[in-house]
Assembly symmetry: C2
Homo-oligomer: 137 residues x 2
Amino acid sequence: MTVSFSDLKPGVSASITKTVSERDVEVFGEISGDLNPLHFDEAFARKTIARHRCVHGGLVFSLVSAVFGTKLPGPGTIVLEIKTSFTGIVRIGDAVTAICTVREVQNKRRVMFDCICKVGEAVVLEGEALVLAPANP
Amino acid sequence: MTVSFSDLKPGVSASITKTVSERDVEVFGEISGDLNPLHFDEAFARKTIARHRCVHGGLVFSLVSAVFGTKLPGPGTIVLEIKTSFTGIVRIGDAVTAICTVREVQNKRRVMFDCICKVGEAVVLEGEALVLAPANP
């Protein structure tokens, strides 16, 4: 689904929810090379402030890109800039909801979004992203 | 390999190079849900400013996290904040090098890094990241 550019107004938002599986983490580690034991070794993770194995921040953020690229603005969207804080730990098995809300429509089809990811009511990622919306659906 | 915290000084850097494959893009799309045709449909991509299929920005950024989580500072590192511009398009088959350089060592084991990703000499990602270095190797 693509929202036409004229429909992009401050406050318009879309979301995606995904339950992160063991396989998701394994595969993300394999294709990125990020084999940080924090994500794979429970005994190691217990000795860190994470206290248990956790999901890669990059995998959590990828749900935000999925909203941009498939829902709002939709297919053809290009992410130009991101600024993100990882404010909470995501565990394997958590259902993560990524919510992207139009903050400002700029010129040349650039749109600034506020982005958050939540597990239940806990905000685990917070930030903003500047995207280039597609020319036309 | 983990660098001990005392070795983390401005200018210290590490890098990872990866050639992005068709499978990497397919799998990243599957686990993130980011099935934006920009990454999968050559005819669609040709009608956009990308001109050809391109690699997810999130996959390119994941190489930066791989440097943090496996080399510098190394296992146990937690990414706290990122600020990134995607300055160039990465194609399937490109060899991407992620380079992370210590900019500033802050208190409480926080370290600010400058991060870039390059394809050949072209900078395709530029930004900074604040990480929490592991307590001790």
